[in-house]
């Protein structure tokens, strides 16, 4: 799909969409969003770019391999669970650090956020890897 309009629009939209996906990820605990949704938004951003530039360039234009996100994400989620064990509680028990930041107020950071980041990474890795793999299958002549 060699469309100039599509490419130009996506180049503009891509950073915004990625930021939006991070926004979705981090607000998830208190407002609509979270790792699944954020991951899907990021994946949609990457995949619309796939439509514009094709699989080869998609692979090259990212400094990491998509499928590496899968083990990294899974291990991140497991690590979040192990934090609970380190505190002597059961696996995946939430661990929270609560402190007051000047000018912001009370800040709560917990292992569920780390867990959600793991989910986020796995969702991006899965969606993008599957679709890009299919897209670069030469005999299917998708691009």
């Amino acid at each position: 799909m060699n469309s100039l309009i599509l490419r130009a629009t996506i180049r503009l939209m891509f950073p915004v969409l990625l930021l939006f996906s991070l926004f979705m990820l981090f607000r998830g605990h208190n407002a609509p969003g979270g790792g699944f949704i954020g991951g899907l938004v990021a994946a949609a951003a990457i995949l619309t770019q796939l439509l514009a530039v094709g699989p080869e360039q998609i692979r090259q234009s990212f400094p990491f391999t998509f499928r590496h996100l899968l083990p990294i994400g899974l291990l991140t989620a497991i690590a979040a669970g192990l934090l609970g064990i380190l505190q002597g509680k059961a696996f995946l028990t939430g661990v929270w650090v609560i402190f007051t930041l000047l000018g912001v107020g009370e800040v709560k950071i917990g292992s569920p956020l780390l867990f959600d980041i793991g989910v986020y990474l796995v969702v991006i890795g899965m969606t993008v890897e599957i679709i890009v793999t299919m897209a670069e299958e030469e005999s299917w002549k998708l691009f």
């Binding site: 979705m24 998830g28 605990h29 208190n30 407002a31 609509p32 969003g33 979270g34 790792g35 699944f36 949704i37 899907l40 938004v41 994946a43 949609a44 995949l47 619309t48 796939l50 439509l51 499928r67 899968l70 083990p71 994400g73 899974l74 989620a77 497991i78 669970g81 696996f91 995946l92 939430g94 929270w96 709560k108 917990g110 569920p112 956020l113 867990f115 959600d116 793991g118 989910v119 796995v122 969702v123 890795g125 899965m126 969606t127 890897e129 599957i130 679709i131 793999t133 299919m134 897209a135 299958e137 030469e138 005999s139 299917w140 998708l142």
Partner: protein, 783 residues
């Protein structure tokens, strides 16, 4: 400290790979030295432990199931730990030179340390669950070592056979251990062995037999011994270490460990005693018929294992003392013999008795070392093996339980001793002497570190029979036997007791053994026919073939490759299982048929959604189906928005979007219209399934509904599941978005499972696409 000692072996397994890369052959010495330090630490504990001191540590593991990670070092554990680390240090050194420049040397040594750690775990475990985990780990490391040369089909066969037989026994043992733990009210071995009432428990017969199944398969007792000869495809250092000196003694360790709790009954005496005696005799007989040196040693190993098992079956204090003596004697001389056979094979390129001979001329040092350990195997004075046999005879003559007549035990021991002398002669003279020996003129002694291990073990075979080592060892043997007996056992060993019946038996056995060896040709020729007829392996091979055929049949039946078949099975199973749970479970569902209170636009949306769903099923064009499906999806989103489920709405939107992208990619290649393939009957079936799923999901939704009559969450008083989550979200998890809190906190384990499934799905999809690609290439190459 105990835990550091245990895990240092696992640590060494990790260190091995970089160590060999950086240091080359010097790593062998470092690793061996590290193992020796471990041995030194255990030896350092010996004086205290011999006087009855017990080291122990406990960490809670799964408190709700009473399982703990518990270790204990007492006399019995220490004896085995010393064998594992001491012989381990020598074999690691030997292995480094045996495999020499092999590119896989570091992998081999890594497996060896993995095994060492697992075996230490088995003998140090104080908890049945801990013990079981390490027990299975020894099976795994044994599998890796037997299959080390995995290009060789025989190696793969042997590895799988060992894994299946010991693993199967291990499963039976797990059931037995769980029953034992329930019967004794504890999984702690230290607490179980002090109980006396276990033998009157109604489950006693069941758990004893199950545990014995585990021990017998591991220690290669008849009829499960068939895996051990095939395990000889492992590199020789591994055979000597795992399949002779240590791992196959795990079953014996377990029997000795649990003897105070389980022994003393007729069942124990009969089953353990008879299986041990039969194994001891049959394997000694089979050993004499072998031509492959490693197979010969494998059968003699089985024989000695049976010997120790039989003694534990007898279970008197004298018998357990004799069992400890034979365990040590056998480990020491048999490990050395395996290493020597390894040298012979390494230098001559063969280990076939028919091709070997006259090696004493070219391998004089090896021959001298071999002479000592072979004498120990034959049970000749003044070696430690002689003491082992003397105590066996002594036990057989004086201290057998009523159900095992002394005549049986003594007779079996005597016949075994005759064969021991005969196969020792066959082995030694067949390899190192012989008039019709082919010339091995270019053969030379191996690198000295390969001889160091066997030489030290041979020296031990001699020195252990004399003071001061004999005195020192008796203390440890007494401590080990006491643990196994459950009461104090005094051990004193002497080469000379005067002219006693055991000594006369030895003399008679040696004389008969020499005669048997002298007439070996006709005897072995007759055996060659007879051995060929004893084919227990047929049973194993047959059941494996059957299992494979069953698996192929099942796969062909259920993995049809048609998506609709899979959906049918999944949904069908869901309907059956969930509706069963709903019918048998408690909880009420209120269904209101009144439409009052529902806004008109919601009704309209619902009706449109239903219509588009019908359209999906009815349309014959692909584009139409996709469009209609999209309508269903967006109406779903609308409902999520109406019922304040913004997360779900967002997710649904994203999924719809991604689906469009995916379809854009593949749409061009799909046929434009659906083909009509299903029969009338199949359609009715599909309609029934679809209606069933719809009804079920509706009912489930009503059950958890917060509106009225929902299922009550068990954790709280009178709250429905939804109410519970809504109430607890902020105070317990600091989150106002309940959906997200459920995903990442309350039900985080479910989410972890889900993302694991996602990862596996990617692997599957990736493999499907990429492997298909390489198939295409193959096809192109072929054409």
């Amino acid at each position: 400290m105990l835990i550091i000692a245990l895990f240092s072996a696992f640590l060494l397994a990790l260190v091995t790979l970089p160590a060999y890369r950086w240091l080359g052959q010097r790593a062998t010495w470092l690793l061996s030295a590290a193992t020796a330090v471990l041995f030194g630490w255990f030896l350092w504990q010996a004086p205290a432990v011999s006087t009855g001191h017990v080291l122990s540590v406990t960490y809670p593991w799964i408190p709700r199931l009473n399982a703990a990670f518990a270790l204990r070092l007492d006399g019995l554990s220490l004896l085995f730990a010393l064998l594992v680390t001491g012989i381990g240090a020598l074999i690691i050194l030997y292995g480094g030179y045996y495999l020499g420049d092999d590119a896989d040397l570091s992998r081999f040594q890594s497996y060896m340390f993995l095994f060492m750690g697992s075996m230490l775990g088995v003998v140090l475990a104080d908890d049945l669950v801990t013990l079981f985990v390490f027990w299975e780990l020894t099976s795994v490391s044994s599998y890796l070592l037997i299959g080390f040369r995995h290009e060789d089909e025989k190696a793969r066969y042997g590895a799988l056979k060992a894994l299946l037989i010991t693993g199967g026994g291990g499963l039976a043992m797990l059931a037995g251990l769980v029953m034992l733990g329930m019967a004794g009210g504890s999984f702690r071995i230290g607490e179980l062995i002090t109980q006396t009432a276990l033998s009157t428990h109604p489950l006693y017969t069941a758990f004893v037999l199950l545990i014995l199944l585990g021990a017998f398969t591991k220690s290669a007792q008849v009829p499960f011994h068939i895996w051990l000869p095939d395990a000889m495809t492992a590199p020789t250092p591994a055979s000597g270490y795992l399949h002779s000196a240590t791992m196959v003694k795990a079953g014996i360790y377990l029997l000795a460990r649990l003897q105070p709790a389980l022994g003393g009954t007729d069942l124990w005496h009969l089953v353990v005693g008879i299986v041990g005696l039969v194994t001891m005799l049959l394997a000694a007989y089979l050993a004499f018929g072998q031509n492959d040196l490693k197979a010969l040693l494998a059968y003699t190993t089985i024989s000695s294992l049976g010997w120790a098992v039989a003694l534990i079956g007898i279970g008197s204090s004298l018998a357990l003392k004799a069992a400890m003596v034979v365990i040590v004697a056998h480990s020491v001389y048999k490990a050395a013999l395996f290493l020597l056979v390894g040298i012979v094979e390494h230098e001559t390129g063969t280990r076939d008795l028919r091709q070997l001979g006259g090696l004493a001329r070219v391998l004089p040092v090896t021959a001298v070392v071999a002479a000592l350990v072979t004498m120990s195997m034959a049970g000749l004075p003044p070696l430690f093996g002689f003491l082992a046999k003397e105590t066996l005879f002594e036990t057989a003559l004086t201290a057998t339980p009523a159900v095992l007549p002394a005549l049986w035990v003594a007779g079996a021991a005597f016949v075994m001793a005759i064969f021991a002398v005969a196969y020792s002669l066959l082995f030694y003279f067949g390899v190192f002497f012989g008039s019709d020996a082919p010339s091995f003129d270019e053969v030379h002694e191996p690198a000295w570190p390969m001889l160091l291990g066997p030489a030290i073990l041979a020296a031990l075979s001699v020195l252990l029979a004399f003071p001061p080592l004999r005195t020192a060892s008796t203390e440890l043997l007494a401590a080990a036997a006491s643990q196994s007996y459950g009461d104090a056992v005094s051990v004193s060993l002497a080469l000379w007791h005067g002219i006693t019946t055991p000594l006369l038996m030895t003399i008679a056995a040696v004389a008969s053994g020499v005669v048997l060896w002298a007439v070996r040709k006709p005897v072995r020729r007759w055996q060659a026919g007879a051995i060929a007829r004893i084919r227990l392996d047929v049973l194993y091979d047959g059941s494996i073939t059957l299992l494979n055929r069953l698996a192929t049949g099942l796969t062909a039946r259920f993995q049809t490759g048609t998506l609709s078949d899979y959906l049918l099975m999944i949904l069908g199973a869901m309907i059956v299982l969930v509706s069963y749970a709903m019918i048998t479970g408690s909880g009420t569902i209120t269904v209101s048929t009144s439409l009052a209170g529902i806004p008109t636009f919601e009704l309209l949306a619902a009706v449109l959604m239903i219509l588009s769903a019908v359209a999906v099923a009815g349309t014959s064009t692909r584009l139409g189906a996709i469009a209609a499906l999209g309508v269903v999806g967006f109406f779903m989103t609308l409902f999520f928005v109406i019922y304040s489920g913004p997360d779900l709405a967002l997710t649904q939107l994203m999924v719809e979007t991604l689906t469009v992208i995916l379809l854009l990619l593949v749409f061009y290649f799909l046929p434009r219209v659906f083909e009509d393939r299903s029969t009338r009957l199949a359609r009715f079936r599909d309609i029934a399934i679809a209606a069933g799923v719809g009804t079920l999901v509706t009912l489930l939704t009503l059950m958890v509904s917060p509106l009225e009559g929902g299922v009550v969450a068990s954790q709280s008083e009178g709250l429905t599941v939804s109410e519970f989550f809504l109430q607890q979200s902020v105070p317990a998890a600091f989150g106002e978005n309940v959906v997200n809190v459920i995903l990442v906190d309350f039900r985080a384990l479910d989410t972890l499972g889900e993302i694991t499934v996602l990862v596996i799905a990617v692997l599957g999809a990736y493999a499907l696409v990429k492997l298909r690609l390489s198939d295409d290439h193959d096809a192109e190459d072929g054409s």
